[in-house]
Symmetry: C2
Subunit: 518 residues, 2 copies
């Protein structure tokens, strides 16, 4: 293969048509005859140009779907260059992308320059390199790693290739590296911090692999799909918000990278750091509390590992002008008792109203306290108690009502107003004993099989957590689903896992090493 | 992500329709409404089952392209399970493939068992894991490697998942690891060896990254697209053939792996070994001469490296029951003078008729000689001279005429009958001096830009090779093209390279480090 930049070839005129084919992949369809004329071979990519804007795409051939002279494009391709039906475009065989040379350089263990990394990020954004090349880059990060300079360049480039929010004043934020189900702490932290007067405009994500992202949970209470200008207006007015970041084109390359990492199930550390921090840069965050859930079954398994990662994040924050404090939290079991959008929103709302599981409230107050200290609202060491006061006096609940209303929801929503799945399966303890384990992955898989996050009312409610004492026949967990077929799916998944282990419980080992709840 | 085998979900009935969309990717199109019903999310894969046969596919959504209840599939999907238009199929969301667990195990540096590797190969074949997962496997081979046991398992599995040819007697073969343009030696070796009486049914490939594969070159002289039974019949009759292996479903997983390696430009050694040897196992090869072109600009750069690779191939051959001898050959410049299908076929035919460049004839006779020794036709050490006698007496030419005729071509074809491109660009030496370099990659890129291998008459003809003395103004190279636009493309590529370096020639360095022929 030619790794040099190929000579510029000829452009051909086409009329664009947006085709009725929905996929996130960048795909164009041309007539087989035109393919001959353009010398298109399998695996080739084309460049579609409209004026100064260009997008790169895979190309499929068709006899009839598009007639000669017409190029059918998927919506993502059209959106990338602002194409409308019947627009004239110029099409050429894409030259070998220069960024592939840099990816291969990194594959050999060499160090990349700022410009080289920027070119890779730019080429992922335009589609000049496609999913395979993007995965090659992510896997090279996994196997070879990036040094601190490279991570800094990657972070800055990812933020630059996309839009930014400017609040014109110091911005506070909280982020979790994830991996623990039920982690609805942002719904408590944001109103506590906003109630203190600090600005905390939280852009959050929807679930990719979890039963509910913060945006999915918040959506139960109010609208989370807001435009940039609305977000700025709302945040300035009520000092905080919890919105979905997906509409804002913040570090959009992140999504393209996640899309290829997801099927493989990788999340290499340099990319995780760059992805988190690029979005923070794009939102103009100056002060960040980073939650690092730690323990068996979490992303980070040991305290030593969590400390190492925390130091790395803090150093990277210094380079980027973001003041970071890390909270290493207990990550071996779900946070609180509820897992799934509606169940979690219900639990968070109850907690804001003064009543909720200690694991949820303590964690939220601790992390909020760190932010209050960073913002000078509380002296160092007393952030937790100041946060607790804000929560205890219902100032956080009052603030949440303002946020819900500002985002377009009903501020008077009550926990009991929130509908949850009507198809319920209850699991009882088979023995007397102490709960020795609540398995994150099992809970996640069961909740997702039950329909979460798409079915908002689906999820899992835990009646016990690690260390609880239970009696034989006592309720330990409920599965909620909106559809009976999904409940059956969840029960099938349940039968492959041990979501809750009670000491003394019989573990039946069957062939292929799978274990069933006795 | 769930790395456990998910519980079996429900199958839905669909009517299949083969859609007018050509791509090598496995793609199905369903109506958006059905997607809701099946709970299809972006990135999901589906399993399409017809009776006992199943294929896995990506899924795109459409409003109108397929109505509810209909699933549109590309031809590769249909072919995989023998689907015809309007066949009823059962569709379900694909469970997480078990082979992904094994790929991730290997990513962590662990060793895979025979069964685990077989599952990976099987899942690549059915599409149960798609291009991204396949690339993850190939890149893991690149970064982590495979040990000899793993390579053996991979080779055997790749051969098993596919068809086989059975000639019922010892089979001889020659293979080059590639990387050197103009390497048309098989067109001399096969008739020499067949003329000796040994059976040499050569299945060859078309070019992927080179200007001409052996199948492309042979196709100038005769038909190369033959069915398995014809190949066996022809080979038994005339003792040899040179056909395209692409129709025979030999180790088909190889193609699926190459398809993802190609855009990245990787060819990890374990995969290269397994790919070559799986095809040999599938054809029942017992005795193989492996050509390892070596030197700067070839795949293998040093003799030490070539020897290491040779030993590895020989050991792997022992494990697989294939007797292998390796020829380490000079690979720093093209073999012979001609590059491109028609130009190479012309040169090979001339050489068989007694007249041709020493580099082509010597290399062919040496490698053919090794096979004659392996087959007991020549005593050890005298293979070359026996091969030379067969060539000198025109027995090889006579045999080639028989092969051409048996495969359906005209045995009386003369070199001057072969049409070559009429658009010609000549390059003259700018100075007096010795040729110090003929660059493989530059020649390859120029020939491909000129249209090779698709335009059969396109390519490059070298008038000089390394060590030749030339005068200023003397012809050093010609570019041939069938179309003037392609000739212009080739000239543009030429201007970025130094395909031939004559000592004392001015190398003009321009910005960005590109060099032009002065």
């Amino acid at each position: 293969m030619n790794l040099y930049l190929a000579a510029k070839m000829t452009e051909f005129k086409f009329v664009a048509r947006i085709i009725d084919l929905y996929t996130e992949e960048r795909i164009a369809v041309i007539n087989s005859k035109d393919a001959m004329r353009l010398d298109i071979k399998p695996f080739d990519r084309i460049r579609i140009r409209k004026g100064e804007k260009a997008v790169y795409s895979s190309v499929y051939l068709s006899e009839k779907l598009t007639e000669s002279g017409v190029i059918g494009v998927t919506k993502v391709v059209a959106d990338a260059v602002g194409l409308k039906d019947r627009d004239e475009v110029l099409v050429e065989l894409a030259p070998q992308p220069l960024s592939l040379v840099y990816i291969k350089k990194k594959m050999k263990g060499e160090t990349l320059t700022k410009d080289e990394i920027h070119k890779i990020v730019e080429d992922i954004a335009t589609g000049n390199i496609g999913p395979l090349e993007t995965l090659a880059f992510a896997l090279t990060e996994y196997f070879v790693g990036l040094d601190m300079n490279e991570i800094e360049y990657l972070t800055r480039s990812m933020a630059e290739v996309g839009d930014r929010l400017d609040f014109g004043e110091p911005v506070y934020d909280k982020h979790s590296i994830g991996g623990v189900p039920g982690n609805k702490v942002s719904l408590l932290i944001v109103p506590i911090v906003a109630a203190s007067g600090l600005l905390i405009p939280k852009t959050s994500s929807r679930a990719i692999t979890s039963p509910s992202g913060t945006a999915d949970t918040m959506e139960i209470l109010t609208n989370v799909e807001l435009e940039a200008e609305e977000i700025i207006k709302i945040a300035k007015k009520v000092r905080g918000c919890i919105v979905w970041g997906g509409m804002l084109n913040l570090a959009p390359v992140d999504d393209l990278i996640i899309r290829v990492e997801y099927p493989i199930g990788i999340d290499p550390e340099p990319q995780m750091m760059a992805s988190i921090l690029a979005k923070k840069l794009a939102v103009g965050v100056n002060n960040l509390v980073l939650d690092i859930p730690t323990g068996k079954g979490a992303k980070v398994e040991t305290i030593e590992e969590a400390e190492r990662l925390a130091r790395k994040f803090i150093e990277m924050g210094d380079r980027l002008g973001i003041h970071i404090r890390c909270g290493i939290t207990y990550g071996e079991q779900p946070v609180g008792h509820a897992v799934g959008p509606a169940l979690e929103a219900k639990e968070a709302l109850k907690a804001l109203m003064g009543e909720g599981p200690a694991s949820l409230i303590e964690k939220s107050l601790s992390l909020a306290g760190l932010l209050l200290e960073m913002g000078g609202i509380a002296p160092i060491g007393s952030g937790y108690s100041v946060a607790k006061e804000i929560w205890r006096k219902r100032e956080a609940y009052e603030k949440m009502r303002q946020i819900i209303e500002a985002q377009g929801g009903n501020p008077n929503i009550k926990p009991e107003d929130i509908p949850i799945g009507e198809h319920i399966h209850t699991i009882y303890s088979p023995v007397d004993g102490y709960v020795t384990k609540v398995d994150n992955r099992a809970i996640t898989e069961i909740a997702r099989a039950a329909g979460a996050p798409r079915d908002k009312g689906a999820g899992v409610l835990l009646y016990v957590k690690r260390g609880y004492k239970v009696r034989k026949g006592e309720k330990i967990m409920e599965i909620y689903a909106e559809r009976s077929t999904k409940l059956q799916d969840a029960i099938r998944v349940l039968n492959r896992y041990l979501p809750v282990v009670v000491e003394g419980m019989l573990l039946k080992t069957v062939s292929k090493g799978e274990m069933y709840l006795s």
